[in-house]
């Protein structure tokens, strides 16, 4: 089973990270899921693949009533992001799924009906969770061509999807980045190969460095906090991406 860690709390406004499953088979990439709660409702960010649904569901329901999930935010269309969609909908068929307009007719192959999807325009949008405004921030081509991060101005938390992702070796599984230089080695190969556009990366770095962020939360690996957030942005800005040695 996965574990839950509350990474931000202010009254009933919470960010909960659902991470690390010792029983997960190795052929499935490890993922982090995040739950944002406010006013008794929840938004689940990148709920994960179908095969890990039992682990995510059970960890989440220890913390929060799954039927109070108002929606799912899918940063992009990958199977590790949202192939569990149909299973979540079994609990709450009225749940909405926010995703880039690019993918709003592709993801229904994972489940859902015409009413499920709320397409996000390229420039992003605000999503209200019981009055809490969450901002879908464009991160196109990083790596998906229709890709969004989600920013919470109050909590100063940015969910960054595959940006900042690291594929950690066994044993290195702390929730937060402890030693940036050591950590970033596990992120380098991923960013070089998965990210396709230096231009898009430049724009993302410019946009995000102007935002007030305490925690940058990727979908794989560890969370960057404090000074490591800007350290990551600078590192990413310098990295040449979209390179294949072939």
């Amino acid at each position: 089973m996965k574990t839950t860690k509350t990474i931000f709390q202010q009254g009933n406004h919470k960010w909960v990270a659902i991470v690390r499953d010792p029983e997960k088979p190795n052929y499935l990439v490890d993922t982090n899921e995040y739950l944002v709660t406010h006013g008794g409702k929840g938004l689940l960010l990148d709920p994960g693949g179908a095969e890990i649904f039992p682990a995510v569901f059970s960890a989440l329901s220890a913390e929060f009533d799954p039927s109070a999930l108002a929606g799912i935010f899918a940063s992009h269309q990958d199977p590790d992001i949202c192939s569990s969609l149909a299973l979540w909908l079994e609990f709450n068929p009225g749940m909405r799924c926010y995703v880039s307009w690019l993918w709003s007719s592709f993801i229904p192959h994972f489940g859902g009906t015409a009413d499920t999807f709320v397409p996000i325009p390229d420039e992003g949008t605000d999503i209200s969770l019981e009055g809490l405004i969450l901002q879908a921030v464009p991160a196109h081509y990083l790596h998906s061509s229709g890709n969004f991060n989600l920013y919470d101005k109050i909590a100063k938390v940015m969910f960054s999807g595959d940006v900042g992702a690291a594929l950690l070796p066994p044993g290195e599984d702390s929730l937060f980045v402890e030693d940036f230089d050591r950590h970033i080695r596990h992120a380098e190969g991923f960013h070089r190969r998965w990210m396709g556009s230096n231009e898009a990366k430049r724009r993302w770095c410019e946009r995000v460095s102007q935002m007030d962020i305490d925690m940058l939360c990727p979908q794989h690996g560890a969370i960057y906090r404090g000074a490591d957030v800007q350290r990551f942005i600078n590192w990413f800005d310098d990295l040449q991406v979209g390179i294949v040695k072939a």
Partner: protein, 206 residues
């Protein structure tokens, strides 16, 4: 170069059904192809009988019957193909049901206090309805196959009678008996195909 090899993974029971249906469908395609051949052979036989005149009148009548038989057989095979497609669809749903039920069951075991148990129950009720629909399609397919079998029995009788009639064809007797021999061979081939379909584990369950 990367040699293409398959993993040794076994399909789940419903996956076995899908493989069986694929094989049934291939066999049906073969029967359709063969029955098309009978149609052409019957047309040739009708012309041959016309040329042979009164001596081959009986043969001509039988050739006509065989032509009708080949058309009926094709209609029957089309109905079987339609049922097969229905079964493929239903087996696919059942396969998905099995996966979802497994994941929900795991969730319910890990979180016994949650709504997972109620959701699992509802899902299993729906799965049961899908299984029943598949069972009913399986029954329909089995009956349609029996009908086809009966039809082929009749075809066999026609081909054998044509063989006897050919002997009365005087100077045309050798060519008539060759044609009727071919008829008989093909009807036997179809009978063989249908026999193997009847024995498919999709119907017998093992």
């Amino acid at each position: 170069m990367n040699a293409l090899t398959m993993s040794t993974a076994r399909p789940p029971p419903a996956g076995d059904d899908l493989l069986r249906i694929v094989r049934i469908n291939e066999e049906i395609k073969r029967v359709v192809g063969v029955s098309f051949k009978i149609n052409i052979m019957a047309l040739n036989a009708i012309f041959l009988a016309k040329r042979a005149g009164t001596a081959a009148r009986g043969f001509g009548v039988l050739s006509n019957e065989l032509r009708v038989f080949s058309q009926d057989l094709r209609t029957c095979m089309e109905a079987l193909t339609g049922l097969i497609h229905g079964c493929v669809n239903e087996v696919s749903i059942v396969l998905q049901d099995i996966r979802f039920a497994r994941l929900l069951r795991e969730a319910a075991e890990l979180a016994p206090q949650s709504a997972a148990i109620a959701v699992l129950q509802r899902r299993e009720d729906e799965n049961e309805a899908h299984r029943q629909k598949l069972a009913s399609l399986r029954g329909q397919l089995k009956r349609a196959l029996e009908d086809a079998f009966q039809m082929v029995e009749l075809g066999g009788v026609l081909a054998k009678s044509a063989k006897i009639e050919a002997a009365y064809g005087q100077s045309f007797a050798p060519s008539l008996s060759q044609v009727s021999g071919e008829f008989d061979g093909i009807v036997e081939e179809i009978r063989g195909s249908l026999e193997s379909l009847r024995r498919s584990a999709f119907f017998t369950g093992h």
